[in-house]
């Protein structure tokens, strides 16, 4: 009997230690499903394209299935251990963010933006997580063509930072990118012509940067705040204040890290915004002599040459530009700019043959740079302005060939295809053939999706603004919506369609 009691003792102990453990079981299941989804997510990066596509679908489905059922909705959830509940909330936030990131990578920007926004709305999040989610929302919504929504997210991010005591108490370390949010918000309001918001947020941003600079009198935060303040002046075209800010930052120990770039910027503000040529020369010469082998020195030398040409010292300026072209150490973009600037000056002084040779050389030597993309268009423009229609047509034909070669889906061109597209359209418009330009842009079978969609939008714009054929413009926009649904281009096309049909433009 005694032995039997002894045998039963462990059973009693076991029963005494029992607990419902429902919360722990649910958390474990959530973690297991999250791991499964992350497993597919990780595999996307290492698998081959075909398998990867399947993994993306599997990962999205796995994340969605986690979010579809919230164990915290169960009535018993209120009795669970608070640590378990907090873990489950954290897991759900991670799931949402991971799914939103995945949708973003799959270019499903609208869905990604919605999820990021829901993440922010679902729970009280740590500042860092909330800002990451809002930044994701802003990026997704911008790419989805929802510009107003993107602006709202930037503004909300800005307010979160300003109002968060942890940030001011240095308890939360933020990436530099987040300190740029105030000035980005102001720039977006300016570009959207929302004057009241632009003014209000300009003031908020200015006082924010001043407060950051006062709270952290030195170091990285101080540097970033002062840079933000300078950018704000630049956005608001407050050139004197921007120059003063730049001078102060360059003179301080915190500015030493970017002294070359900041000094070049100061010189360019004096030269091209403030019109203080003497001061510009002094500052740009300092850049060229203090850091002679740095890229900024070549840029400064280019600026000085352009100032010389503009100020009537054509010989000196042209010699400096030629020296830059022949300098093997000069960065390609600077050499290309120098070539283009010299070609334009030669054209202005009626030395067209030499200018034409230079335009063609830019294309040969630096085919992917902006000056090389501008060159064919400038040649067409020259012939049109001089009434040489036959030559203009031949130049246009050659420009078309050059541009289309860059735009082809299989081309190695790594630059901005929208710039090429813009130059192509502009060349036709200059030649007086906007209809042909629109036709060309609208029937681009050989282009990638983004270029094709942008081409339809540009064709619509040419029909609407240059050809003055709103019906054809509307047809282009509808085609864009049909061919590229759920993209930024589709959203822009929808808004433009509404404008053309006289309806009030939709938000975004």
């Amino acid at each position: 009997m005694k032995e039997r009691r002894l045998l039963l003792a462990p059973l009693f102990l076991l029963l005494a230690g029992c607990e419902s453990g429902k919360g722990i079981t649910e958390r474990y299941e959530l973690e297991r499903r999250l791991w499964q989804a992350q497993y597919f997510h990780r595999r996307i990066n290492i698998a081959l394209m075909q398998a990867s596509r399947n993994d993306t679908r599997l990962a999205v489905e796995a994340y969605r299935s986690i979010l579809a059922h919230n164990p915290l909705d169960a009535p018993a959830a209120s009795t669970w251990d608070p640590a378990v509940i907090s873990d489950m909330q954290r897991i759900r936030v991670s799931t949402r963010v991971a799914l939103a990131n995945l949708l973003f990578l799959s270019q499903r920007y609208a869905d990604a933006g919605t999820l990021y926004r829901e993440t922010v709305g679902e729970a009280h999040l740590p500042l860092r997580v909330e800002l990451d989610a809002r930044l994701g929302a802003a990026r997704s919504l911008y790419l989805a063509g929802e510009n107003n929504e993107a602006m709202e997210q930037c503004a909300a991010m800005f307010r979160e930072i300003v109002d968060n005591p942890d940030f001011w108490a240095s308890a939360e370390k933020l990436d530099d990118a987040f300190l740029n949010i105030p000035v980005v918000t102001v720039r977006m309001y300016r570009d959207a012509e929302r004057t009241a918001d632009y003014e209000a947020y300009s003031q908020l941003a200015a006082s924010f940067y001043d407060r950051v600079a006062t709270t952290w009198p030195s170091g990285r935060m101080n540097q970033q705040a002062r840079l933000g303040r300078i950018q704000l002046h630049l956005v608001r075209s407050e050139w004197d204040a921007a120059a003063a800010g730049l001078e102060a930052l360059i003179a301080s120990p915190d500015g030493a890290e970017f002294a070359q770039g900041l000094t070049l910027l100061l010189g360019e503000v004096h030269a091209f915004s403030r019109g203080d040529v003497a001061e510009a020369r002094r500052v740009l010469t300092e850049v060229a002599t203090r850091w002679p082998n740095d890229e900024t020195a070549y840029a400064a030398r280019y600026d000085l040459a352009v100032i010389d040409v503009a100020q009537g010292n054509s010989a000196g300026g042209m010699a400096a530009l030629r020296a830059l072209e022949q300098d093997n150490n000069a960065p390609g973009i600077v050499a290309a700019r120098a070539m283009l600037a010299r070609a334009r000056e030669l054209e202005r002084t009626d030395q067209w043959d030499e200018a034409l040779g230079l335009f063609r050389r830019v294309q040969q030597l630096y085919p992917e740079t902006t000056p090389a993309l501008e060159a064919p268009m400038l040649i067409v423009k020259h012939y049109v302005e001089h009434g040489e229609t036959a030559l203009a047509d031949r130049a246009l034909e050659r420009a078309r060939e050059d541009y289309l070669k860059l735009m082809e889906r299989g081309s190695n061109f790594s630059g901005d295809r929208l710039v090429v597209q813009g130059a192509l359209a502009e060349s036709y418009v200059i030649r007086g053939k906007p209809g042909e330009a629109a036709e060309l842009l609208a029937n681009s079978q050989q282009w990638d999706d983004a270029s094709a969609a942008a081409g339809l939008l540009q064709a619509a714009e040419i029909y609407a603004s240059v050809v003055r054929d709103p019906e054809k413009a509307a047809a282009m926009l509808k085609k864009c919506v049909e061919r590229f649904p759920e993209t930024r281009y589709s959203r822009i096309a929808q808004r433009r369609l509404a404008e053309l049909s006289g309806q009030p433009p939709a938000r975004g």
Binding site: L15, C18, E19, G21, I24, T25, R27, Y28, E31, W35
Partner: protein
């Protein structure tokens, strides 16, 4: 005894494992312990399953702490978690099952049949003491080996590992005959251990080779389990459960092979056949 005789004895001993083909009942105690291990592993691995969650959650927490309640850390920790249960289990129930297997093997052997039958229950306490000493000494040697390995690196670590493995094989060789002695001669655990050491010293090379064979068969699984975090990340966390369950099934056969071989070495000598 020269080396060729030792190798012949070793091969003959392994050959004794064929006994299970003619008398499958000798395998039953080993299968029973294997099944018990698998059951325990299933309970530990799937502790959140509805019928067992109530008592397994506190058990897993007690064994592995709070991190063991989280996925996938629970599976990463599973080998360590199971080890904590396995050692006392092997020292008691495991050793008892294996000794019962020896009892059965002796009953099927000519030498055993000529000796008086000894009830297993009467020898159980001594079997358990031998089991505790057997597992305890192996465990302590393993701890010492781990401590030394933590201080050395590179080729020296490899030398220490093999030396440690050899030391474990030697110590186990000295103790492994104890269940056979208890069955054939009776007596206390201490007397059985002493006789076991004498047996082993006489047939040391063959005995050590048998034990080394078993240790080497387990080495790949043990190595994979020592890399549990990598296995979980590279494949799937559940893979560790499959490895452990595979290890338990493998042990069912290797334990049988070990004790059948030991019986094969001891019984002919005990009967004056060698």
């Amino acid at each position: 005894m020269n080396l060729s005789r030792s190798v012949t004895s070793y091969l003959d001993a392994l050959g004794n494992a064929r006994l299970a083909l003619t008398a499958p009942s000798v395998f039953v105690p080993f299968a029973a312990f294997g099944a018990l291990q698998c059951l325990l592993l299933v309970m530990l691995a799937f502790f959140t399953a509805e019928p067992i969650a109530g008592f397994m959650i506190p058990a897993v927490r007690a064994l592995g702490g709070e991190p063991a309640l989280h996925y996938p850390m629970h599976f990463v920790q599973l080998p360590g978690l199971y080890q904590r249960v396995y050692l006392p289990l092997a020292a008691t129930i495991g050793f008892a099952c294996w000794s019962l297997g020896i009892w059965s093997m002796v009953d099927h052997h000519t030498v055993g049949r000529s000796r008086p039958r000894r009830p297993f229950r009467a020898a159980l306490v001594h079997v358990l003491i031998v089991g505790l000493v057997f597992v305890g000494v192996s465990w302590l040697l393993g701890l010492g080996l781990g401590a030394v390995l933590a201080r050395v690196q590179g080729p020296a670590a490899r030398v220490v590992t093999f030396a440690g493995l050899a030391a474990v094989a030697c110590v186990q060789a000295l103790l492994i005959y104890a269940p056979v002695v208890l069955r054939l001669r009776g007596g206390s655990a201490l007397a059985a251990i002493r006789s076991s050491a004498q047996y082993a010293s006489r047939r040391f090379v063959a005995t050590a080779l048998v034990i080394l064979t078993i240790l080497l068969i387990h080495a790949p699984v043990d190595f994979l389990l020592s890399q549990s975090d990598r296995v979980a990340l590279r494949f799937h966390p559940e893979m560790l459960f499959y490895l452990l369950a595979g290890g338990a099934v493998l042990e069912m056969f290797t334990a049988y092979l070990l004790f059948a071989s030991i019986a094969g070495l001891a019984l002919p000598e005990e009967g004056g056949m060698r």
